[in-house]
């Protein structure tokens, strides 16, 4: 049987060795570490402001969309201006003209 190093009693060292061989990635560890190091060298960590900005961006977009919708709604379904309302004949005067009686 294989020689077992002196580590925790709960660990199954034979399984550990078998798993190590199964997952063994060998000498490529250094290469991957170097690759990751090269990537992180050219990408700065996010500051608190970046995180806040990323969180705020969708909120700002949503607020702009709502503002546009409100603007569109207000323009499309615009209520008649006071002058137009004053010039427009009332229902009562039209009815009285048709019937020929004065509306009190």
């Amino acid at each position: 049987m294989m020689e077992q190093p002196d580590i925790g009693p709960d660990r199954d060292l034979i399984l550990a060795r078998a798993l190590e061989q199964h997952f063994d990635t060998g000498a490529q560890d250094d290469r991957l570490a170097a690759r990751i190091y090269a990537v992180i060298r050219i990408s700065a960590p996010e500051s608190g402001f970046d995180v806040l900005a990323a969180w705020l961006r969708p909120g700002l977009m949503a607020a702009a969309a709502v503002a546009l919708a409100v603007l569109f709604w207000g323009t499309y379904f615009k209520r008649p201006a006071p002058m137009e309302a004053a010039l427009a004949p009332s229902v009562e005067s039209l009815l009285s003209a048709a019937v020929g009686t004065e509306v009190r």
């Binding site: 660990r11 078998a18 061989q21 500051s47 995180v51």
Partner: protein
């Protein structure tokens, strides 16, 4: 000051924007992170991509790291998440493939009792395990994590980790068969 900086010291330097310190952390834990990623992704290239994605994500969000907590489980969690994300993308491709089990290392005491057939059977048993069991047994038996650490990392109760370990070990020991030999003194599930 001692010659070797602790993980926590390196993490504190990384939080301050020191890429060299973060690079040292990655270098220190790269083997364990690769094994963890391999326990989720059968393809070594995918596992390496996940490690890289995870490490980059950890670096980008290093300001969110809590200095009061140990570094190794934090890195493991980020890499595990990256590996799971990648596995979801690769699921269709990986379900029909079994990984190669050959190793480039020279023979040692373990190799002498493990034949190619047992090795293939073991590999199939590893891949047949549910992902959580595979991750749990890898973290516990190979990486030396405690039950509680694994439970926190996987977001499951301690008892679930113990149950996962029991089932995973039973399946893997059965696959090793005669190569497994007698249980070591004092060991338990």
């Amino acid at each position: 000051m001692s010659g070797v900086e602790t993980d926590e010291v390196l993490a504190a330097r990384a939080r301050a924007g020191d890429a060299d310190a973060f690079g040292l952390l990655v270098e220190r834990h790269i083997t364990g992170l690769r094994r963890l990623a391999r326990s989720v992704l059968p393809e070594p290239e995918d596992a390496d991509d996940a490690v890289q994605d995870g490490c980059l994500a950890a670096w980008r969000n290093v300001s969110a790291y809590d200095p009061a907590r140990p570094v190794r489980p934090w890195l493991a969690r980020v890499v595990l998440n990256a590996a799971r994300d990648l596995r979801r993308k690769r699921r269709v491709r990986t379900t029909e493939e079994l990984p190669e089990t050959a190793t480039s290392r020279g023979p040692d005491a373990f190799d002498l009792v493990v034949t190619a057939e047992i090795r293939a059977r073991f590999a199939a048993a590893v891949e047949a395990l549910p992902e959580r069991q595979r991750v749990a047994v890898t973290l516990f038996d190979l990486e030396g994590y405690a039950h509680a650490e694994i439970a926190a990392l996987l977001g499951v109760p301690d008892g679930t980790v113990r149950s996962d370990l029991f089932h995973a070990r039973r399946a893997l020991r059965a696959a090793l068969g005669p190569a497994y030999g007698p249980r070591p003194e004092g060991s338990h599930e």
